[in-house]
């Protein structure tokens, strides 16, 4: 006879679910409102979404670190909290970008579903980072991805449909690889809980080719799925096209949020291998990262469109970060979150600057929205905007004292520290490659500055800030201040991140 199932509410520890529940509840609320009342202004939905995100941030802050809940599916640890905070803050900065000057220019925002889907995506990403169960990771990943495909397609241009379909198909294939990776892990260890997997692998031992081949195969398959989402070569192919096709804020958002979520998963998954001293996996990740950052930098160099250039640059930044992930030290992991936190301000700002100049008619180029020529001579027409854009570009190229510089500094110093700690000189080579790549990257960022400051305008068509509104200006102003003043908060921020990351043993 079956035992009656009894579960006490305390053991569920539902508080661990609260951030996601808030997002999902908010999404349902938006759908309900739409059901009962048509044609509400988008401003209302924007405000509502922001409110929900605010509450979500509050809930995330109130979480206790290192707790499990909901049949031990949920795992709230330091990296979960810090990544959720990055996700939510970025979302909070992304959503007001919907408030462009003219109300009906970009009609994706006039659908309440857009905001509901957005919140579902946020919830999916939050699930993804706060669990170490492969099932829940998969479900969170797919929830977020499916919402994201739709959000991209809702931009409703020819390019956005093409982008969505490319992203979707490759995403489906990547999902297949994620599942096969899980199958291999499950087959070798008999568990889909990563902490169990770690224990079992530990006890099985990983010496010799026969015992390592299965875990290594699992790592390769997983790296395909992770590399797709984080955009590592050669799984990055979707990135430039999707960024080009989707709206600029969405592209900026995609360059941060889904990546940071997947990086947390990678940290959890590859952390097992690194803790077991399976160096092959570290080498694998580092080699792929180095190829990624080098090739994407080279491709960014020859781009003619600023948005596409930023897409390639974000690929190279991802390669940068993944290289540090392979080290597995606390400093490296903390630097990754710091890097993305700081990179977020700058990159979102750069994309927002493209966004306010976006015009439905492609007036400067047959295909591109933001060719370099569009910005030539910008300093004379829009001096403030040119200076702001220049600050973002300088920051992206890692020039002190702007925000990304500190990210790079900590990241590279974590590599150097690791080299010193292990006494392996090859990690110094890695650090040198990273520095060289930064130097190459500076070229294409500065190219835009050269266009803005030194070239005369190519034609009479003036760059018009059609979409400029108070909301956009506020967000950009905030991002610029955060970029410039990073020197004042980077130290406490790093301490906070390090505290969170180290408290859960990463």
């Amino acid at each position: 006879m079956l035992e009656p199932i009894s579960v006490s509410l305390e053991s569920l520890n539902l508080i661990t679910l609260s951030p996601m529940l808030i997002a999902i509840g908010g999404a349902l609320l938006i759908l309900l409102i739409d059901l009962f009342k048509d044609n509400l202004d988008k401003t209302m939905y924007v405000m509502l979404t922001m409110l929900i995100l605010f509450i979500d941030i509050g809930a995330t802050f109130s979480l206790n670190i290192n707790e499990r809940g909901f049949f031990d599916l949920m795992l709230v640890d330091g990296i979960s909290v810090v990544s959720q905070l990055i996700i939510l803050v970025t979302s909070l900065l992304f959503i007001p970008l919907a408030l462009t000057a003219s109300n009906n220019r970009f009609h994706e925002y006039s659908y309440p579903e857009y905001f509901a889907l957005f919140l579902f995506m946020v919830a999916g990403l939050q699930f993804m980072v706060s669990t170490d169960n492969l099932i829940l990771i998969f479900v969170g990943l797919e929830t977020a991805s499916l919402s994201l495909y739709t959000l991209i397609a809702m931009h409703n241009t020819k390019g956005s449909h093409e982008a969505a379909i490319k992203y979707f198909t490759m995403g489906a294939m990547a999902a297949g690889f994620f599942l096969m990776g899980s199958v291999v892990v499950y087959a070798t260890t008999g568990s889909v809980e990563l902490y169990e997997v770690a224990k079992i692998l530990q006890s099985q031992g990983v010496d010799g080719l026969s015992s390592i081949i299965a875990p290594l195969g699992g790592a390769v398959l997983m790296l395909v799925a992770i590399g797709f989402k984080v955009s590592l070569f050669p799984f990055h192919m979707w990135t430039p096209d999707v960024y080009e096709g989707s709206s600029a804020p969405m592209a900026g958002y995609m360059s941060i949020v889904p990546k940071i979520a997947m990086i947390v998963v990678a940290m959890r998954f590859f952390g097992i291998y690194i803790n077991l001293n399976i160096e092959a996996v570290s080498y694998l990740i580092i080699i792929v990262s180095v190829i990624t950052m080098t090739l994407s930098n080279m491709m960014a160099l020859v781009q003619k469109d600023v948005k596409r250039m930023l897409a390639y640059s974000s690929i190279s930044h991802a390669g940068f970060v993944m290289a540090a992930l392979a080290l597995g030290t606390t400093k490296a992991n903390s630097s990754i979150f710091l890097y993305y936190g700081l990179f977020m301000f700058t990159n979102l700002g750069a994309f927002a600057m493209l966004w306010i100049s976006r015009h439905k008619a492609k007036r400067f180029h047959g295909r591109y929205d933001h060719p370099y020529e569009k910005f030539s001579g910008m300093i004379s027409a829009h001096p403030i905007a040119a200076v702001i854009m220049a600050i973002f570009m300088l920051s992206l190229s890692g020039i002190p004292p702007f925000s990304v510089f500190w990210g790079k500094l900590y990241l590279i110093s974590s590599v150097v520290d690791f080299s010193a700690a292990t006494g392996e000189s090859k990690y110094i080579v890695l650090a040198i490659i990273m520095v060289l790549n930064s130097a190459v990257a500076a070229y294409y960022y500065l190219k835009l500055i050269v266009y803005m400051f030194l070239k005369p305008p190519v034609n009479e068509l003036n760059l018009v800030y059609t979409n400029k509104s108070l909301a956009l200006a506020t967000v950009i102003g905030f991002l610029v201040m955060a970029t410039i003043l990073s020197i004042f908060y980077v130290q406490p921020l790093m301490e906070f991140v390090t505290y969170l990351v180290s408290s859960s043993g990463y």
């Binding site: 797919e142 379909i165 489906a172």
Partner: protein, 100 residues
């Protein structure tokens, strides 16, 4: 006697068929079929391993995969419909505006 390894080989074959389908097919609809085959290949393996270890999580995983696959195909078909309306074709070679 059919054992775990047979199921795993079947799963691998299915996955390869799906993969080849994804790589070779030019019609978007066929591509979707192929990705579904890849997902279901994983399902077969999950179910078999779950039975082998006498552990339910594999079967649970399979159920979730089925659910996700269903919603994925819903989104995919939605995209496919708009795309067909815009381009009048489902041939992958036509969607090459963005490149380089």
């Amino acid at each position: 006697m059919i054992g775990l390894s047979h199921y795993l080989v079947l799963s691998a074959i299915l996955f390869s068929i799906g993969l080849v389908g994804v790589l070779r097919r030019k019609n978007l609809l066929m591509l979707f079929f192929a990705t579904e085959i890849m997902l279901n290949a994983a399902n077969v393996a999950f179910a078999a391993i779950s039975y082998h270890y006498n552990d339910l999580s594999g079967q649970m995983f399979a159920f979730f995969v089925v659910a996700v696959a269903a919603s994925e195909i819903a989104v995919g078909l939605g995209l496919l419909v708009i795309l067909y309306k815009k381009y009048g074709t489902l041939d992958l070679d036509e969607f090459t505006v963005m490149r380089g």
